[in-house]
Amino acid sequence: MFRFLLGRLAVLIPTFIGVSIIAFSFIRLLPGDPVALLSGERVMSPERHAEISHQLGFDRPIVVQYLDYLWGVLQGDFGLSIVTKRPVIDQFLELFPATVELSLCAIIFAVVVGIPAGVIAAIKRGSIFDQIIMGTALVGFSMPIFWWGLLLIIVVSGILQWTPVSGRISLMFFFPSVTGFMLIDSLLSGQEGAFQSAFSHLVLPTIVLGTIPLAVIARQTRSAMLEVLSEDYVRTARAKGLSTFRVVGIHALRNAMIPVVTTIGLQIGVMLAGAILTETIFSWPGIGKWMVDSVFRRDYAVIQGGLLIIAGVIMLVNLAVDLLYGLINPRIRH
């Protein structure tokens, strides 16, 4: 296991360095003067330009600049936002819990609906249930989620008036952020109706973000299940006269879950890409919306820092999934 971890790290570290080089060179590839871009000042005298250039360290050799940048990054310094003049990492940490809360709810939704749907489709293979479930899954898989979000807003928020259109909680409520998760914070605040408000704000974004993972998980569960159901030990279990429920629930499902767990892990990157669209539609104050807003505000320091942090988070999550997978399935360690 230790060697497995070392092997993973040996791949991860050069990748992270590569990612940091991309984030570093990004600001220098942009059309325009990086000094003007980073300082946010449009018109400046040559003296002022030289002064800022010196301040930002642009007058040094590029390799020194990069190493300096990398050293800063390793100490958690990702630069200052051009617009707000606040450290990028502070803004990230402030907004990240909102994205994590949304993504967690979406993945739970996808797993809770997707796995049973896939199992039913596999057991009733070829039946009308199977066809309906797999047809729906393919539609979900093909869904432009930005449109799906707008559609849900029209029907659920507009016509039925069941849920609010945007944000994390109604403006009536105000309480300190303890965990950063609105569902938990609203419960802790003890204010009446706060939890209901937070919950109703979360419903539509969860469905929208969870749709594609749900479809992928349902399809993957069905094919993994079909594979396992044709194995000898399942036939033996059936021959022993065990009920379908026991055969499927205890013997088959456990083994079918191994590929499904990998699929769930792979969905995390998909989630963060989906969060860009979902958060934009629902004005959800998370990192996806933050990045889109920064692109439009031309806040290059945030884009640069945000790219690196997000890539770092995804790499760490993938490492965790790999290790977890190594624990469940000893065969892949070698």
């Binding site: 791949v11 050069p14 449109w147 707008l150 989906g274 692109v295 884009i303 790219l307 997000i310 790499m315």
Partner: protein, 302 residues
């Protein structure tokens, strides 16, 4: 069956015709795939004949007919079958012209990423060693970013527009083709027929592209259909975020972005472009499932 073999170019190689017949046999067994194929051909026809079919010019603004509903609703007019948008452009014509952009995006992105991915992947899988290591590390770096975020930032660097969006998406999709090609080349490389060709004196280029590559195509074709539909989705998403095709281009994602503020007032300006994207992507994915069943014998039973 006979029709199909008749339309395929006559080949002197009987095994090739047999393979095509077998392919069509499995593909046509999948009802969804055939429906997808028919719908896709319909879209291609629509895209090619757009100027003949569309009742109006997609960019002409009819000032006296702003936000008209489709003809079956009260206030709709027969001249604008699916209504008009906020500046009085005919929805139906814009949707028909939009087919062109989406299919074009799919073709260009898939071609770029497929050709680039195959070249790089064959080199990595064939030569192995440090070449392979360097290539795969670069691919890992690209894959470390969420694809849409990387595409968004790339477009921000290159400048918003459909061309740059296509380049960005192709770049982001490339690693999947590289990985698939490399894996396939590595398994094929040690087979007897490759060794035989090598002993017979075939050079590196011939071995790579003539001997090995044709036997690695099945997973690549399946991945190509998948990236065709994903490219359409991602280009529409970039258009929706304002970073893809720019107004007044009748691209479906851009149309949705322009329609956002009317979602609670005029359902058709929001619903129809999205429906067009969904139907197109669904048709291609149905075809993709059929292709996978027909090309990959391991998956044939599921």
């Amino acid at each position: 069956m006979t029709e199909v073999t008749a339309t395929t170019p006559i080949s002197t190689d009987p095994s090739r015709r047999a393979r095509l017949a077998e392919f069509w046999y499995y593909f046509s067994e999948n009802r969804g795939a055939v429906i997808g194929l028919i719908f896709f051909l319909f879209l291609v026809l629509l895209a090619i004949c757009a100027p003949l079919i569309a009742p109006h010019d997609p960019t002409i603004q009819y000032r006296e007919a702003v936000l008209l509903p489709p003809f079956w609703q009260e206030g709709g007019r027969a001249a604008f079958l699916l209504g008009t948008d906020a500046v009085g452009r005919d929805m139906l014509s814009r949707l028909i012209y939009g087919t062109r952009f989406s299919l074009f995006v799919g073709v260009i992105v898939t071609t770029l990423s497929l050709v680039g991915g195959i070249l790089i992947g064959v080199i990595a899988g064939y030569f192995r060693g440090w070449v392979d290591t360097v290539i795969m590390r670069i691919m890992d770096i690209i894959l470390a970013f969420p694809s849409l975020l990387l595409a968004l930032v790339l477009v921000a660097v290159l400048g918003p527009g459909l061309t740059n969006a296509m380049i960005a998406i192709a770049l982001v999709f490339q690693p999947h083709f590289v990985r698939l090609t490399r894996a396939a080349v590595m398994t094929e490389k040690t087979r007897d027929y490759v060794v035989a060709a090598k002993v017979a004196g075939a050079g590196h280029l011939r071995l790579m592209f003539k001997t090995i590559l044709p036997n690695c195509m099945a997973p690549l074709i399946v991945q190509a259909t998948l990236s065709f539909s994903s490219a359409i989705l991602d280009a529409a998403a970039l258009g929706f975020l304002g970073m893809g095709a720019q107004p007044p281009t009748p691209e479906w994602g851009t149309m949705l972005a322009e329609a956002r503020e009317f979602i609670l007032r005029a359902w058709w300006v929001v619903t129809l472009p999205g429906l067009a994207i969904l139907a197109t992507v669904l048709a291609i994915n149905l075809m993709g499932d059929g292709l996978r069943d027909a090309l990959d014998p391991k998956l044939k039973r599921s």
